[in-house]
Amino acid sequence: MTLEGQIRHFAELTPRKTAVACCGRTLTYAELWQEIQQEAARLQLREGEPHAFLTTQDTGFVVTYCGIHLCGGVAVPLEASMPAERQAQIRKEIQAAVGLQASSDILFTTGTTGTSKGVMVSQKAWTANAENLIDRLGFTSDLLFITAGPLNHLGCLSKIYPTLMSGATLYIMENLKDLPAFFEVFRLPYARFATFLVPSSIRMLLQVARKELRAVAPKVDFIETGAAAISQHDMELLCQTLPHSRLYNTYASTETGIICSYEYSRYGCIPGLLGKPMKHSQVRIGEGGRVICSGRTIMSGYVNAPELTAMILRGGEVYTSDIGSIDEKDGMLRLQGRQDDVINVGGYKVNPSEVEDAAVSLDAIADCICVPATHIVVGTVAKLLYVPKAGATVKPRDIVSHLRGRLEEYKIPLLYEEVGDIRRTYNGKPDRKAYTKETP
């Protein structure tokens, strides 16, 4: 069973049913299947040939993505805000890649290793991810699933599969910026609605749109969250606001695929608790509490990085950077933190060294450090502490402009502070721990 095969199946079974919709454009299953075939014919990729494309938040993304698979190519969706130089680098990198499997993907992420690299996800892994989600969350054909985040990231991309493989409807939004438009979707003639929201989006809705959430509560079948920690307070408030909805906290990463999910609306709001492994997944805890995952959903490896692959993927198991434990009684995974310096900003993984390297290339900056900080809405964000060169004046906007051409938008720190010096460890590295203690 493949995504494209299921779309074809529903194009025959329910041709007039809406498959994908976004602001003003809808495609029925019959139309979607026709456009996918046309796209495959246009692309004419060889078996296993990679094809990079910029991610758009619309029906066109699904057409291109599936069209690449249909002709046996490898889909490489890139961040829409990715600087041109980085895009060119990736295109070169993937053309030189060896051993790519037909109809699979390469997703670029910072996740497990803290450095940006291409993760190869096979078609078999995607099908297992979809079956995990269908089985645990309950995707059915009468559902309208709203995705409001970047489609090149696992969190949203993984929802295209169970939605369209169940014959349901996918509604694509760019983000949650236009909140009235988000709630307008609930007026569409569907009985059941569901969505995936990162914890910062849930906090945002609870803070400025609780009234609207209450109004649509009877229609919300389930909401899945993941990619970052959700607080107990937000879980409890969401349970109160949506008393009849199923609310899940999921453990997943690009490297591991979708592993566990915990229904906190049913079993209790416990921070870090992520439930039992899903049907195609296994989890164990290694040395120092490291979370190790295996099963059909895991990645095939990193592109052009055999040494890195051997470090993370050992004996068919993915060694994550997460620290956790498994309850002996109920077998549920509980996450406690990470063992590296990566900053999780609303589900996006930001490597502080990459930000510092880009910032210090600005002539007027003598030194800097990127640390986690707390923001009124998002919770954890990246903050840049910087030391201007003698006699230089640097404003946060100057730094932002400089970083825009060098980093993807989500990697640019949200907060800035000018300081006199940057504390370093005895061997000259930035003393991240000292700053993390001050700004949890």
Partner: protein
């Protein structure tokens, strides 16, 4: 008021060009929520999801107008 709001927002959202005539298109969901929350708190007004329209958040002047109208309506 305009000066104060500009100062408040520029600190919270240094990535955003507050002089833009197309401010709403520059904002992401975090930016929109931050504006609603900060101004609600600062001026003791109730700004909700329905206020986060492209029209209300088009420019810094339209944001100021939105706050003034909320204050009048109290």
């Amino acid at each position: 008021m305009k000066e104060h709001i500009t100062e408040l927002l520029s600190k919270a959202l240094p990535m955003v060009d507050l002089d833009s005539q197309f401010l709403f298109s520059e904002l992401d969901s975090l930016g929109v929520t931050t504006i609603l929350m900060l101004l609600s708190e600062e001026y003791g007004i109730e700004l909700e999801a329905k206020d986060a329209t492209p029209k209300n958040l088009k420019t810094i002047d339209s944001i100021v107008r939105m706050v003034e109208e909320k204050l009048k309506g109290q």
